[in-house]
């Protein structure tokens, strides 16, 4: 099963597999999500969920605050797409 992901502020769409991180799917789909570390530490790939479910993988303590998670922010390099999705990138 694949999900459709739209980056609202970049006018881009791509497909995401449920067992892949959002950033990896974006790279494969040629979608513009800026990144540096791909390891959950640099915060370059911050996205905000507008619609849908994006599950942050917290197993290795990525650099994101609980308050940010509550406000819908996720680090795309370590977040699983769990439904069709609309996001906005921070950069």
């Amino acid at each position: 099963m694949t999900y459709r992901v739209r980056i609202a502020n970049k006018d881009a769409e791509f497909e995401a597999e449920p067992d892949e991180y959002l950033l990896d799917s974006a790279i494969i789909g040629g979608a513009p999500i800026a990144f540096v570390c791909r390891g959950g530490t640099c915060r370059t790939c911050l996205v905000r969920v507008v619609e849908g479910t994006l599950e942050q993988d917290l197993s290795f303590e990525p650099a994101i605050q609980p308050s940010e998670l509550g406000a819908g922010w996720r680090l795309a390099c370590c977040a699983y797409v769990r439904s069709d999705l609309v996001v906005e990138t921070k950069r």
């Binding site: 540096v36 390891g39 640099c42 915060r43 605050q65 308050s67």
Partner: protein, 456 residues
């Protein structure tokens, strides 16, 4: 007794059959070495912006990282040797006296005294401390310490030899510094011996005082050190206060995008010394941070120094001489320094979080410039680490408030932009023009530009 793999020179010739060093004694010796190593790396980092000699400055960026790796190991090993965890970062009165004496090394007057005090006195004492430890410990029972310490002996000997070589040139270039530095060395040895006797019976005990002929009045009235507001550049360089060009380097009628981008990358990288200096100043100013901060910052400082050497290497391959044919300055540091250390580090964090390396790398690859693409690729990888450090430690300073961190970073960017607009774009001083002319002449002479056109 097993004597295999012992380094030559690290042990006395007449090794006793039984070595006496209990676990507690071993931990105590290592703890003192940790205290000294930490203070030396912190003060070396802090003095980096004040160093004038370009070679010394570059060597320091490497040494600080080496120092941090040694310190980190002996701190961990101290804990393994049943040293109380709560005490490893605490200091006894005698250890505080050692730290204070080490910090007085920054009362030095210039590079020669700095190098003399740190390397010829204190690092030699450290070296002797490691050698003494190795001579007292059982190489099998304490092998987890002894094996790396043999490398530390080699590491430190190499650092000291490098700086001794540099000192010969510093004294040759400035002969008036020679007697002054000798007087300084005498003072540093005396200060070290006074405090080390209380901390450990063998730390520094093999140091010898320089002869009595040295001037002894040179250490009076030394001011406590604080990092300079503008990082010092080598007096052999052509003076300038900025390295960022106010417009394109190459003139319109000779413009070549590939060369322009390559020059900008090379010059920018070579000037990343400002970032190493910013981190160094912070390491000195923030004296009570968790230990991990100093290991992270030492790596950060080293990486920025390495980027500087990468830029120099690229420019040298093109035929350009550092500081003569292209500008060397530290304006980003200078612009933010008056606003405090958090703000200064905030600018570095801002620059690294507004990353364009990926696009630039791809541009160079498409243009067939593998040299520039590779430089950017490794720089980009380093930045991932640095972003982590910036986020982690600025957040630590700001009480975990990520909104304050974002505001700090944006404010750093605003200050920088305002400084550049006022001091560079709107200023009648145009020191960059000298370099622009040199770069164009050299590029034409070396065939880096297509033939034709005229000098702008």
């Amino acid at each position: 007794m097993a004597l295999l793999n012992r380094p030559s020179g690290a042990y006395p010739d007449d090794v006793p059959d039984t070595l006496f060093q209990s676990v507690d004694e071993a931990a105590g010796r290592l703890k003192l070495l940790f205290v000294v190593e930490k203070e030396l790396l912190r003060l070396s980092a802090g003095y980096l912006p004040a160093v004038e000699d370009w070679e010394l400055k570059k060597r320091l960026t490497v040494h600080v990282w080496q120092d941090a790796r040694r310190a980190d190991f002996i701190r961990k090993r101290t804990l393994e040797l049943r040293f109380p965890r709560k005490d490893v970062d605490a200091r006894t009165a005698s250890q505080r006296a050692v730290m204070k004496a080490a910090q007085e090394l920054l009362g030095c007057r210039g590079d020669a005294e700095f190098a003399t005090g740190v390397y010829l006195v204190w690092k030699r004492a450290c070296l002797q401390g490691y050698e003494t430890y190795l001579s007292l410990t059982d190489p099998l029972l304490d092998e987890p310490t002894a094996e790396p310490l043999t490398r530390f002996v080699s590491d430190l000997s190499g650092q000291i030899a490098e700086i001794e070589g540099l000192l010969h040139r510093l004294y040759r270039d400035k002969p008036d510094m020679n007697p002054l530095a000798a007087g300084w060395e005498r003072h540093c040895v005396a200060a070290l011996l006074e405090v080390s006797a209380q901390a450990s019976e063998d730390f520094g005990s093999r140091l010898t005082r320089p002869g009595q002929g040295a001037q002894e009045d040179t250490v009076e009235n030394r001011k406590p050190y604080s990092p300079p507001a503008v990082p010092v550049r080598d007096s052999r360089f052509t003076p300038t206060f900025h390295h960022n060009a106010d417009r394109r380097i190459l003139p319109d009628d000779r413009f070549d995008e590939a060369l322009e981008k390559k020059l900008i990358q090379g010059i920018s990288h070579a000037n990343e010394m400002w970032a190493a200096e910013a981190v160094g100043a912070v390491m000195w100013a923030w004296e009570d941070m968790p230990w991990d901060f100093y290991t992270d910052a030492a790596r950060w400082l080293y990486d920025e120094g390495r980027h500087c050497r990468m830029g120099e290497q690229m420019m040298s391959r093109l035929g350009f001489e550092t500081g003569i044919d292209y500008p060397m300055a530290g304006e980003s540091y200078a612009a933010l320094f008056p606003h405090g250390y958090e703000q200064l580090l905030g600018l570095l964090h801002y620059f690294e979080s507004t990353n364009t390396k990926q696009a630039s790398k791809e541009w160079f690859e498409t243009a067939g410039d593998e040299d520039s693409a590779s430089n950017l690729d490794y720089d980009w990888a380093d930045e991932a680490l640095h972003l982590t450090y910036g986020y982690k430690w600025l957040l630590h300073r700001l009480g975990g408030d990520s909104e304050r961190l974002e505001a700090l970073r944006d404010e750093s960017a605003r200050i920088w932009s305002e400084w550049f607009n006022e001091r560079v774009l709107a200023s009648p001083d145009k020191p960059y023009e000298v370099f622009r002319d040199r770069i164009l002449r050299l590029a034409e002479a070396k065939g880096l530009l297509p033939a034709g056109g005229s000098m702008a």
